[in-house]
């Protein structure tokens, strides 16, 4: 089906191509590391193990791999196709890419959702990323070394977040300082551009992340039973907790939803970021193998490395029951409460703590710069701003918006953003782009695009998976999510009364951001028409 999509390889906005010399990746290794850095994030080390233990242990891998094959990898290819084609047309952000796929006035506004999602997620993500930076320094300096129990360490974290004035941090000032440093690093990298900024970061951060994770995994495997008087508390109990299958849980829809949700988060699909990275490829450069390599590298970090650190360590030191309670208390508790205590109990704990939080910071920053780049590209290419002005404008917006996240932390302000933009919005955007590429633009042309310059031949079954199974899976996922989660969340069910005003402010901020982006898209297209 080709509903008025323009013919392949034509209608590139030549004026724009003349105005902006397109940036390019310096090497394929750099591209794959940057794309994998985008995908590898805090979720690989904190969210995946929690999801696995909470949803059937080893049996969770059945719905997880099903979602990866039917949803994750096809979406990865869909985004790389849209991105490289968009780049050929002179667009590195989704409004222009969608307009090039579907010649309809609404297409650019559908694409604007990609800018909105990456901006909104970036706003709260950089704050958590800054905690990792702070904690890596705290670890090295032994700042929390005297703390020996979970309640006290939780109080330390709450004090750092400005929620516990009786703790070591009287105010949120320290967290704010680290946030400023994190923002500065992010925008300095974005200012340096693709090959000298993002690619260079990936080439340094990804090998370091990998090295830190391998050192920690080796340490975990050699931990054995830390307290011989408690033989049931061992890393092997932790691995048993993680991998022993509980098949009875596979009958629950929630387990299949959790697996699909995890695949979304972990691959960073449905956010508009991978398309931007792919747009800096030349038209004859491979996307089939690069997309598969990105997914594989991410899965290696998640299933092999991420799963082998936090849960086994927590079980070895605190036992099964306490670990289950910690995991239920939230993904950050595992990373920022449990792990620091463990490090205080281990020889060279300061160094191990620095490695753990260092890898979380590297995982975070390689993702957050990817969230910023689509906005920078949009402001430069579609609005005609210089890179310097684009970076300054984005920095100003993120800086202004993150104030709410910092000062209203603990009132669920970020939870609203995380659900509507970071969870539900990703699936909506993924469905839109799948329909646009595989149905409106046409699966045959999409398949031809995927194989232009390809280093591998993708099995033809994926052509049908991309056209029928992936959108079907997404529609089902969205329908169940809407009924089970979105509607109750929209009605603020179960939200403490004191949090309600903050939740509404969060929604107000998101609507303001969305309205601003839609207005900017409308203005950019009007400007182009007038030019």
């Amino acid at each position: 089906m080709h509903l008025g999509a323009e013919p392949l390889g034509t209608a590139a906005p030549k004026a724009d191509l003349m105005e902006h010399k397109r940036e390019r990746w310096a090497s394929r290794l750099g591209l794959i590391l940057a794309a994998a850095g985008n995908a590898v994030g805090l979720g690989n080390f904190l969210r995946f193990p929690v999801q696995a233990v909470g949803n059937g242990g080893g049996a969770f891998m059945i719905p997880y791999f099903s979602a990866l094959i039917l949803l994750g990898i096809p979406l990865m290819w869909i985004e790389w196709i849209i991105g490289r084609r968009g780049g050929r047309m002179g667009h590195s952000s989704t409004p222009g890419m969608f307009a090039a796929l579907w010649r309809h006035p609404a297409a650019k506004y559908l694409g604007a959702l990609g800018l909105f999602l990456s901006l909104t997620v970036m706003i709260y993500y950089v704050y958590v990323e800054s905690w990792a930076l702070a904690y890596s320094l705290f670890s090295l300096l032994g700042y929390y070394s005297g703390i020996g129990d979970l309640a006290e360490m939780s109080g330390f974290l709450r004090s750092y977040q400005g929620l516990n004035p009786e703790g070591p941090f009287a105010t949120v000032a320290t967290a704010y300082l680290f946030l400023l440093v994190t923002l500065f690093i992010n925008f300095a990298i974005l200012y340096r551009g693709i090959s000298r900024g993002i690619e260079l970061l990936a080439k340094v951060a990804m090998p370091l992340l990998f090295l830190f994770a391998v050192v920690l995994v080796v340490r975990v495997f050699t931990l054995g039973t830390p307290d011989p008087s408690l033989p049931e508390r061992s890393v092997w109990s932790g691995f048993a907790f993680l991998w022993n299958p509980r098949f009875e849980e596979l009958g629950h829809t929630s387990v299949w939803l959790a697996a699909a949700g995890q695949v979304f988060f972990t691959l960073s699909v449905g956010m508009g970021t991978l398309q931007t990275y792919a747009s800096y490829l030349r038209d004859d450069q491979d996307i089939a193998l690069s997309g598969l390599s990105t997914s594989t590298l991410n899965e290696f970090v998640e299933v092999v490395l991420g799963a082998s650190i936090a849960i086994p360590v927590a079980v070895a030191f605190f036992g099964l029951q306490a670990t289950q309670e910690i995991a239920r208390g939230g993904t950050f508790n595992l990373g920022f409460v449990t792990m620091p205590i463990v490090f205080t109990l281990l020889p060279q704990g300061e160094l191990l703590g620095m490695l753990w939080f260092g890898l979380l910071f590297f995982a975070g920053i390689t993702s957050s710069v990817a969230m910023g780049q689509p906005l920078i590209a949009f402001l430069q290419e579609e609005c005609g701003l210089t890179r310097k002005r684009a970076v300054l404008l984005l920095a100003a917006v993120v800086f202004a918006a993150v104030q709410w996240v910092v000062f209203y932390y603990g009132y669920g302000f970020d939870h609203e953003m995380d659900f509507w933009a970071g969870t539900f919005g990703l699936a909506v955007f993924a469905l839109i782009e799948t329909i646009l590429l595989c149905w409106v633009f046409g699966i045959d042309r999409a398949w031809e695009e995927l194989h232009r310059g390809a280093a591998i031949r993708v099995p033809v079954a994926f052509k049908w998976i991309m056209k029928y199974v992936t959108p079907g899976y997404l529609i089902l996922l969205l329908a169940i999510w809407t009924l089970d989660e979105a509607l109750p969340k929209l009605r603020l069910q179960g939200v403490p009364l004191q949090d309600v005003p903050y939740r509404w402010q969060s929604r107000g901020l998101m609507l303001l951001l969305l309205a601003g982006i839609l207005a900017a898209v409308a203005w950019a297209w009007r400007r182009r028409r007038e030019a």
């Binding site: 080893g58 891998m61 691995f239 048993a240 991998w243 022993n244 299958p245 193998l289 290696f300 591998i456």
Partner: protein, 35 residues
């Protein structure tokens, strides 16, 4: 909690699958490094 045979099998399958795919893409990347 003891690691059961079922756990060992799932663990081996998950890691085995990832290592196999990693090996495959690595070989393909090396073979096509000039492209």
């Amino acid at each position: 909690m003891e690691l059961t045979w079922g756990g060992i099998v799932f663990w081996a399958l998950a890691w085995g699958g990832i290592f196999f795919l990693s090996g495959y893409v690595l070989v393909r990347l090396l073979k096509t490094r000039d492209r």
